[in-house]
Amino acid sequence: MMTETEVILKFIYDARYFINENLDLDKVRIEVPCGSWVGSKRRSIGDIDLGVFPPIEAKGTFIDSLKDFESSEKNLQVMNYLYATTQDKLSKEFDYWSNKNLDNVIVYLSDVNKYKLLKHNIEDFDFLTSLLGGNVEIFRK
């Protein structure tokens, strides 16, 4: 199982060339909870804010994402989730997200080093594909 910190770092690592070459780094904001960090978030939404794409809330696992999504107290404006999972769990997790009011659910498959979209907004697909260097596919059941 990956931690939230590991998921964020892996995502930014995989997106680093695109961000470096195409985005204004002064507008990129990334919040990583790690080490002895126990403070509250400085911003109310999204751990990964690239400036040109609605912020993405990152979690370590499906369960953490689900808890966050179902919490009535926080992250009400989050429309994009990112977390890590494995191929064998995709179908069940796809079923959970399918009828939820979200734009994109991006999962990193730690067993095959690939990204899948369990839910996607068609207008965002090209951006996410470019961001992750083509290593992302739409999950189909």
């Binding site: 931690t3 770092l9 690592y13 680093r16 060339y17 990129v28 790690c34 080490g35 960090w37």
Partner: protein, 280 residues
């Protein structure tokens, strides 16, 4: 090429390298390494499953985890670095010293210690722009140790940010063989004497110092600036042995609050263990 392991309490530096120098960072398991012409730096973020090795934590006696602990391949600490994007002006300066000062004052220390921050910043309590140099603690102590307490001018932070400077400092520490700087007694004495003039709640009575600052706010929450100021004074006195004891003059209520604070709070324990209480 020199190799080093950097144990990070913050991911800001790793993210900064990924975004600004994507060709120089590589994944190694769940860790990331920065490889440039002279150095191979492996960045690790300790967590519950992979905590900071005991051998390293034993070398660090401090009241918080430094942002970057630079080690050789055998987990010998080369340097400990704390960085911040916000200038520590006003009360913030001594508060930021909680982690750094215990390490810096340790005369048996075998590794370098550095604190890096902007020199100019906004003092929220006064809504004005101030400089770190206005602080008595900077003027009487920190300014003598420019290699350890690095305060960057605005023009140094236009093209490069704090993380860029921190990375350069880590590389400098890994490549250099110079001995760590240990503070001189005369500077410690000067700082302690200045504290008596500058801290209005501190006075000298015979061979003792009496501190009467309010340790808690009216709502009973901890007054961190007061705790940090007292902690600094205690540490300066421990290093110099100038005064016999430090008496903490406090109300009965505040004395009880101090005793009831979390027993795992290292700073509170340090204050409790190193002062003589006088309830007034």
């Amino acid at each position: 090429m020199k190799k080093a392991i950097i144990y990070c309490d913050s991911a800001d530096l790793i993210i900064n390298i990924m975004l600004k120098s994507p060709k120089k960072i590589h994944q190694r398991g769940t860790d990331y390494c920065y490889i440039d012409k002279d150095v191979d730096l492996l960045f690790k973020i300790p967590n519950k499953n992979n905590p900071l090795p005991k051998k390293i934590s034993n070398q660090l006696n401090t009241y918080g985890t430094m942002d970057y602990i630079v080690c050789d391949e055998h987990d010998n600490v080369i340097s400990a670095i704390e960085d911040t994007k916000t200038a520590p002006v006003g009360n913030a300066l001594l508060q930021r010293m909680d982690k750094v000062l215990p390490l810096f004052l340790n005369r048996n220390r075998k590794f370098k210690v550095a604190y890096i921050a902007p020199r100019i910043g906004k003092d929220d309590s006064q809504d004005t722009e101030r400089s770190v140099c206005q602080s008595w603690f900077f003027q009487k102590f920190l300014k003598n140790y420019g290699k350890n307490f690095i305060f960057l001018e605005k023009n140094q932070l236009t093209k490069e940010n704090i993380c860029d400077h921190t990375l350069n400092l880590i590389i400098e520490h890994v490549l250099s063989n110079t001995a760590p700087i240990i503070p001189q007694n005369k500077h410690l004495v000067e700082a302690l004497n200045e504290s008596i003039k500058s801290v209005r709640t501190l006075k000298k009575v015979g061979t003792d110092l009496i501190f009467s600052g309010k340790m808690f706010k009216p709502n009973n929450s901890t007054s961190h600036p007061v705790h940090s100021t007292l902690m600094t004074i205690i540490m300066l006195n421990q290093s110099t042995g100038l005064y016999n004891k430090i008496i903490l003059e406090t109300s009965k209520d505040h004395s009880q609050l101090l005793d009831s604070r979390n027993k795992n709070n290292k700073k509170v324990n340090f204050i409790k263990n190193n002062t003589t209480r006088r309830v007034v």
